[in-house]
């Protein structure tokens, strides 16, 4: 049992049923998760609360996921990012790479085993031992 505070994840995704399952798997693994369904809301929330990891879908209602990540990175340079997308293929731009996005942080829907999402989150949080 760890005495470290739980990892805090913010999910940015406008697909409610996907959000449901991602939040559930994170909770089952003692990871604190919150969700918003737009980039604008995410910016607001991050402004006032602390998160370790942001899990972003690329396709969002107004501001797109890639732009969101760049702006969040400016706000909180220490925050880490992962992408959970329904797109078939994605090549991170230079700006995204500067924000820390690497190939291994790209999750393509449908992730056939949800544990993979937990693994990526824990990896990013530097807690892969758990």
């Amino acid at each position: 049992m760890t005495s470290q505070p739980p990892v805090r994840v913010l999910i940015v995704d406008d697909e409610p049923f996907v959000v449901m399952s991602v939040m559930a798997i994170l909770e089952d693994n003692d990871i604190a998760a919150e969700a918003v369904d737009s980039g604008e809301e995410a910016l607001e929330l991050v402004g006032s609360s602390e998160y370790d990891i942001v899990l972003v879908d690329l396709r969002l209602p107004s501001m797109q996921g890639d732009e969101l990540i760049v702006r969040l990175h400016e706000l909180r340079p220490n925050m880490k990012f992962a992408i959970h997308t329904g797109s078939t293929w994605f090549e991170p731009t230079d700006d995204l790479k500067k924000a820390g996005i690497k190939r291994e942080h790209l999750l393509y829907k449908p992730v056939v085993d949800l544990v993979e999402i937990v693994r990526v989150v824990l990896d990013l949080a530097g807690r892969s031992g758990e």
Partner: protein
């Protein structure tokens, strides 16, 4: 005096000098007339000689050009008897005029079906503009596409012009195939994005349900206690009522659907792997070993019983390619061929014989050529034309998605910038021919 005049005078007056004096002016006039006539005729002769020389020269020029025509020309009467012929440069069989005069044109292998051909002759003979026909002819056991034009020339003579259009047809098919691929690719990419989200919802939530109906997680126990129930009772109920199996079914189906979408996306996804210079002989042999050693309960063929003959050219250059993708293509072709041969030889009307793969590797210039030939049932023309089409399959439902061949085609043509063709004759087997650029052409 003109010799002809002399002759006439001799005949009338016994001697050329013995004509009456008063006739001398007249005789002179006649003499002049004869000379002028001679001059005129000489000029006519000369101009005729020049004209005919020019004509012959033009004629021989035309002959040279004519000789280079790829088409074959056959002159016939309305009953189809060959009057004369001239073979084409590009032709599969050589027409020799003397050998064929007097024979019937429908007997020529390149005429295809004699009844259809005969009907076309009749139609052409009755019309002024003639007619034309496109058909398939079987020549030396190979199928060729032909186009025949029937032109009525004069009464009772028709000219039939044969053109071998096999190459053209093949190019047209490639074009149609590419268009189909493109449209499937576009559809696939668009659809995939839409499907992935609901699929993620189905898979994700089903997985969670499965986990939460079990007793492994501490949280399950805690929540059960909070609800005042015994978790082991819930677990037993879920098991007894088949809930776990149902959830497994949902998860399994969701994964299958995801695999199909992923497969389809091969058409639109850009390749991320690197190209490496590989020895195709080793790659092909490795794939054969893979096929041999694999044991699949669903297979109704035994690869070990198939003989494999290798005709590999020595000094094959290494080829820049994506090894795993090429292996996928080779494996797909070998698997399909093995299945086809096994089914074919299990038929009662097919003589017992060894199933055989012949693998050939060769290179010409900057391309390498890979041939995978089997001695199975072969394909009819329609199957052969559609074999690379996405979702086209001759197997029953449940035996795959029909995408394997189209993905292979895409890998060879789009990922590697190569070409892929199939040659096949019913009951004589099938050969797949792949050509790849040695230096690779990654997309």
């Amino acid at each position: 005096m003109h010799r002809l005049l002399k002759r006439q005078l001799k005949r009338i007056y016994k001697s050329e000098d013995a004509f009456p004096a008063e006739m001398s002016e007249f005789v002179e006039l006649v003499d002049n007339a004869y000379r002028q006539f001679d001059d005129a005729r000489e000029m006519l002769d000369r101009s005729l000689r020049l004209s005919s020389q020019e004509l012959m020269q033009r004629n021989s020029e035309m002959r040279v050009v004519f000789k280079t025509f790829p088409d074959s020309f056959v002159w016939i009467n309305p009953q189809g008897t060959i009057l004369d012929c001239k073979g084409g440069m590009d032709d599969v069989i050589n027409l020799v005029s003397d050998a064929l005069k007097g024979q019937k044109i429908f007997d020529l292998p390149m005429a295809g079906d004699p009844e259809i051909f005969g009907a076309a002759i009749k139609r052409a003979a009755e019309s002024k503009e003639g007619t034309h026909l496109e058909y398939i002819a079987l020549i030396n056991d190979a199928q060729h596409n032909y186009e025949a034009r029937f032109l009525p020339l004069v009464e009772n003579i028709l000219l039939v012009i044969f053109r071998n259009i096999t190459e053209r047809k093949r190019n047209e098919e490639v074009l149609i195939q590419s268009e189909k691929m493109l449209s499937v690719g576009g559809l696939a990419a668009g659809m995939a994005h839409e499907i992935n989200n609901p699929l993620a919802a189905v898979l994700g939530n089903a997985q969670l349900m499965r986990k939460r109906l079990g007793d492994e997680m501490k949280k399950n126990r805690l929540v059960a206690k909070k609800c005042g129930i015994d978790l082991s009772g819930v677990v037993a109920y879920a098991r007894e009522r088949g809930l776990n199996q149902m959830l497994d079914a949902i998860i399994d189906s969701g994964r299958r659907a995801a695999a199909i979408v992923d497969n389809m996306l091969s058409f639109s996804r850009k390749s991320e792997s690197e190209f490496a210079k590989l020895d195709l002989r080793k790659l092909l042999d490795k794939t054969v070993e893979l096929a041999r050693s694999g044991y699949d309960l669903k297979n109704n063929y035994d690869f070990k019983q198939i003989e494999v003959i290798r005709e590999y050219e020595p000094n094959m250059p290494k080829v820049a390619c994506e090894g795993s993708k090429l292996q996928q293509v080779f494996f797909n072709l070998l698997k399909n061929g093995a299945q086809a041969m096994a089914e074919y030889r299990s038929r009662p009307d097919v003589p017992d014989a060894l199933s055989l793969f012949t693998l050939r590797l060769s290179h010409v210039g900057d391309m390498v050529r890979i041939e995978i030939e089997d001695n199975g049932p072969g394909m009819d023309d329609e199957t052969r034309r559609r074999v690379f089409e996405p979702f086209f399959t001759t197997k029953g439902p449940g035996s795959g998605t029909g995408l394997g061949m189209s993905v292979s085609y895409f890998i060879i043509t789009e990922n590697h910038g190569g070409t892929m063709h199939v040659h096949s004759t019913p009951n004589r087997g099938t050969t797949f021919i792949l050509e790849l650029p040695v230096d690779g052409r990654p997309n």
